[in-house]
Symmetry: C2
Subunit: 446 residues, 2 copies
């Protein structure tokens, strides 16, 4: 199977430098193909950042499993067979809840992996526990499909530690890919699609075996990590939402850009003609073009609304002439202009609703959120732009809170998986009235 | 304050090599001081691993904040002051739930940090979001106290991005330090002590300011991350459980080993005579010596128990002459012999209880767990040793499951924070009867 020595690229520093320069050039041209000015201050260093993070994200092509396992098999005698199984002779070991990130071979976007690995040692040797995670990461840091990832982890471990068997279960979450036509249906989901896959070798090959049942029981013994609604080995042939799209129309529309993405895949150490990668450049472009400058139009001219007058004096708080109103949890997905990776989350808009006024409905506010969301963006700028746009429609006293997860924060570099970012814009009375802000924060939490 | 250019060591590769060799020598001598054979296979590469991970864990001494912030301030115009605050002109930004690890200056053990950072941009510039985490990590990767860590993060960010203000809240969890005399009181706690600290600069200096209240509200808006039982700014002068111990007796008992730990601190780039570090070598040794070879004695000779006969034939399942019994959640804390870092968790023991027999009580089983726990260990070996020892006391048909968190997996290197490891040993009927094992797994989950 050759996975032990799998390393497509040599690590010659000169080669690395050339690959980096090629990637930067390709990213710069992609930005221009999207209608962006790649020389503007916010984008100037984007090619450098994207190249660096792409190389990090696919470092598995340049790593060898044997270098990781080497020297990490430790003596542990175990028990004599007639007494029982333990330690280095038959004692099941399960490492649970390893957080990894991998990259979808169908669309190049990152996917989250909650990884569980079990093995049964034989030959009076056990593997250093962290090596299970490191070996899994070698295969995660490539362009992958969940099932292949599970298979490769299981067989690489089997080959290198020679155990009675290896069991792998992966809970994979693919980023949901919104497009201009679709509004997120499920904002609770926060943009992830999930499948569960498994692989087993040796005594774990048969899912009905006692060994596999022990693995499942032990994996879950700290609580049900696998959601009840999902089944193991969900069919995930079409798990990437973009697989269903026909690449040929995109390829005809953007032949040069398709060639650029193909060259990026080659630079990373992959073979772009591998059959699973055939439509990948087109699918990546389809996704990317969602965020093309000015691909979405918004017309606020013909709105049937009656904007409030921001200069109107405030009435008594119990006069019921006005009250705090809000639209919460408007979903969005934007593209981080520093890393070309999505950030997604929700927008909350608070405003002072005066009696008799007719503020715009949720769907218009959602359209405004989408208009500024489907772009190369910064969360700070997005927040400000939404605030500037909705303010005249809502009477000038408004507050916008944006809460988002950034793929660039969680899938590469710092890998802060649970982190999220919140930003605020305040206009009119919300700028000066802290108790009004507190009231709005309270309504978000409820 | 100088935090921008703080870097105690030059990065001359020759120096680095020398530091590495010094650290390895010191660790080898420490192992021998604990009564270990540093040449045995399991320990041979421990000095190398510990040196590497200590250098990683304290890399903050060799990093400069200005190198991180450089080039990551991006233009964002914000709003005119008279309209409101947003983006690069007054728009509050909060990055929440950054998982970091730091190292206690009182005892050298790692502590977990859930970090929340807010700042209010000014001057039409915003900082790349990941830089907040990277700057925090520079100070986390040093020997720290929670309050100083918060202060250093806040002032380094304030100095380098020149905002209206910076706010930092840290939820810190110090590993609970068991000793031979103490049994874990709270197994739910799984060995962590918690404090919450804060720091603020500029508009966040006053905790009663509107800015601070907004920060607190925004930090929590995704759900209460700060536990209700803790208050902000818990007094944490004595948060390290070892601070209360008198270092002088340890220093008298182990003068050479104290000198070794002092030399390690110096090698890492710290000043061992800084007043907060005065008793640190002794405290570290006090903790380490808990795991000294054979520091605990166990005597199974005089037990008032009636061991079962493993050769006794099995009765009918409904005959009620025997049933599955168990002792669950026996806490333990061991020292990983590969990294000299603790792993801690719980042991579950299942056995066949025959009518009329008198199995040993929980306290004896707990003593056995402690006996094998307070050592340089591997989880696999610990599981097997406990199984071998309890088997004759419990009739020979037994199963041991150990569930543990490994500091070496979560605080350094792979940093798999949510991960845990489960190991199993089975003897007698548990080896061959999968449904019996499943029944025991079920009882663990309940």
């Amino acid at each position: 199977m050759g996975s032990l020595n799998n390393g497509h690229l040599d690590s010659d520093p000169e080669d690395d430098k050339e690959v980096d320069l090629e990637l930067r050039r390709a990213v710069r041209e992609l930005l221009e193909g999207m209608g962006e000015d790649s020389g503007r201050e916010g984008l100037r260093r984007t090619p450098l950042r994207v190249s660096k993070s792409l190389l990090q994200a696919t470092r598995g092509y340049r790593q060898k499993v044997k270098d990781i396992v080497h020297g990490a098999l430790f003596p542990e005698v175990g028990l004599r067979k007639e007494i029982g199984q333990a330690g280095g002779a038959g004692g099941l070991v399960v490492v649970r809840d390893l957080d990894l990130f991998s990259y979808c071979e169908s669309c190049l976007l990152p996917f989250r992996v909650k990884c569980h690995i079990g093995y049964i040692p034989s030959g009076h040797r056990v593997l250093g526990l962290s090596k299970l995670s490191r070996v899994a990461d070698v295969f995660a840091k490539r362009l992958q499909h969940p099932q292949r990832l599970a298979d490769e982890i299981a067989s690489a471990l089997h080959d290198s530690i020679n155990p009675a068997g290896v069991a792998v279960t992966l809970e994979c979450s693919h980023i949901y890919i919104p497009n201009v036509e679709s509004i997120f249906v499920d904002s609770e989901n926060r943009g992830w699609l999930e499948v569960v896959v498994s692989a087993g070798s040796g005594v774990f090959e048969d899912r009905r075996s006692d060994a596999w049942i022990d693995f499942v029981n032990l994996r879950k013994s700290r609580g049900p990590t696998v959601n009840g609604q999902r089944t193991e080995d969900d069919i995930c042939e079409y798990w990437c939402p973009l697989v269903a799209t026909d690449p040929s129309s995109i390829e005809m529309l953007y032949p040069e850009l398709t060639a650029l993405v193909t060259s990026i895949i080659r630079s990373l150490g992959e073979n772009p003609v591998r059959k699973e990668l055939a439509g990948t450049p087109a699918r990546f472009l389809k996704w990317l073009m969602n965020f093309q400058n000015a691909s979405l139009q918004i017309d606020l001219g013909n709105l049937d609304i009656c904007p409030l007058d921001p200069s109107r004096p405030k009435r008594g708080e119990n006069g019921h002439t006005e009250h705090l109103d809000s639209e919460l949890n408007l979903p969005f997905c934007a593209l981080c202009e520093h890393h070309l990776l999505p950030f997604h989350g929700v927008v909350h808009i608070g405003y002072i609703h005066a009696q008799g006024s007719n503020p715009p409905g949720r769907s218009l506010l959602q359209s405004i959120v989408h208009f500024y969301g489907f772009k190369l963006q910064l969360q700070e700028k997005l927040t400000r732009q939404i605030a500037e746009t909705v303010s005249p429609l809502l009477g000038g006293n408004i507050m916008v809170v944006v809460e988002a997860s950034h793929c660039c924060m969680i899938s590469r570099g710092i890998e802060k998986i649970g982190s999220s970012t919140a930003t605020v814009a305040v206009l009119g009375r919300f700028s000066s009235d802290a108790s009004l802000r507190a009231k709005f924060f309270q309504s978000i939490r409820e």
